[in-house]
């Protein structure tokens, strides 16, 4: 099958850094190591023929109970869209529970909450993220629910809502305002 433009250019530019690539049902997927993530994504964004200007989504997967063996337990899939050329690509990074994946918040602001959610649900850390805090589950939650070994009915009661002053102080510092109390 003929390789699409995206896959060809990535192979040309990055060679061995691309751990694998595939195209299934019209979706192009490249698997890269976490060290090459930023370089690959920057190339995808800046190349004139590719121009993937839009980060659609970042999703996490836990392959613990998957029948087919995978390189590591977790994967983070970045979906990109090029509005100029209307093509899409998926960049996957495999990681174990202890790995830290570089953050994309410097390049796209939408990565902020997507990565927070992956941290919340899977426990994967993102190096350089400005505010890696739980997003969907409550502040007293222990564990990471979307992991396959988290029992679905294990409920955790919250005693008091998060006052959120820590996040607010960070935001105020960003804006150059100081709270006197």
């Amino acid at each position: 099958m003929e390789m699409s433009l995206t896959l060809r250019k990535l192979k040309e530019k990055f060679g061995d850094k691309i751990l694998s690539m595939s195209s299934w049902r019209g979706d192009d997927t490249v698997v890269v190591g976490k060290e090459s993530l930023i370089a690959v994504v920057t190339f995808l964004r800046d190349d004139a023929e590719l121009s993937y200007n839009f980060l659609v989504d970042i999703g996490g997967v836990d392959y613990m109970t998957h029948p087919k063996p995978q390189p590591q337990r977790f994967a983070v899939a970045y979906h990109f869209l090029s509005m100029a050329f209307k093509h899409r690509v998926r960049v996957k990074v495999f990681a174990s529970a202890k790995d830290e994946i570089p953050t994309l918040t410097g390049m796209w602001k939408s990565a902020d909450w997507c990565e927070r959610e992956i941290f919340d649900q899977y426990g994967l850390r993102f190096a350089g993220h400005p505010n890696l805090k739980r997003l969907l589950n409550h502040v007293e939650f222990v564990g990471h629910p979307l992991r396959k070994d988290y029992p679905i009915k294990k409920r955790q009661v919250l005693s008091a809502s998060d006052p959120m002053m820590d996040e607010m102080k960070k935001r105020l510092a960003l804006k150059g305002l100081v709270v006197e109390r």
């Binding site: 969907l136 409550h138 919250l158």
Partner: protein, 162 residues
């Protein structure tokens, strides 16, 4: 007052109770704690086709201090639960709670780590409405049932001695 503690004057208190309860049940002011899809159906019940106003429950108050009916419409998660408890505590007596929809009554089909399996885990519920979401007619039916129940809920005697 003191008159309600006198045995012979209890007939007066009963009459006053009846009038007060009649007033209460035909002017239930709902505090809509709408979280999810049931809130949209509640908005449908308030709209002019089904018209909740004819039952006296037109004044939908968003402040718990001004409402006497807490209508929980939608799924309550463990994150939301302290908020709901606080709202319930802020409402003055006498107050009633209607649990609208499957999620508020029992967790619905979300039997998982984050959904409260029924708000009666931490607030006392007077009427449960089944449905996902319940039709607006079901909400009207619940208000009518509640109105029938208001008669025996509170008396001046119990209020004064509480």
């Amino acid at each position: 007052m003191g008159v309600e503690t006198q045995g012979e004057a209890s007939w007066l208190v009963t009459r006053v109770d009846e009038v007060l309860n009649w007033g209460r049940k035909y002017s239930l002011w709902p505090m809509t704690f709408g979280t999810a899809c049931c809130a949209i159906e509640f908005m449908g019940a308030v709209s002019s086709v089904f018209d909740l106003a004819r039952f006296g429950a037109e004044v939908v108050r968003f402040s718990p201090r001004q409402a006497d009916l807490l209508l929980v419409a939608g799924t309550i998660t463990y994150k939301q639960a302290p908020v709901l408890k606080q709202i319930y505590d802020q409402m003055p007596d006498p107050k009633w709670v209607i649990s609208m929809g499957a999620c508020a009554s029992s967790g619905g089909f979300y039997d998982n780590y984050c959904t409260v399996q029924g708000i009666d885990e931490f607030v006392p519920v007077d009427v449960y409405i089944a449905g996902c979401p319940p039709r607006p007619e079901a909400i009207l039916d619940a208000i009518i049932k509640l109105q029938e129940g208001v008669v025996s809920k509170e008396t001046i005697a119990s209020g004064a001695s509480a």
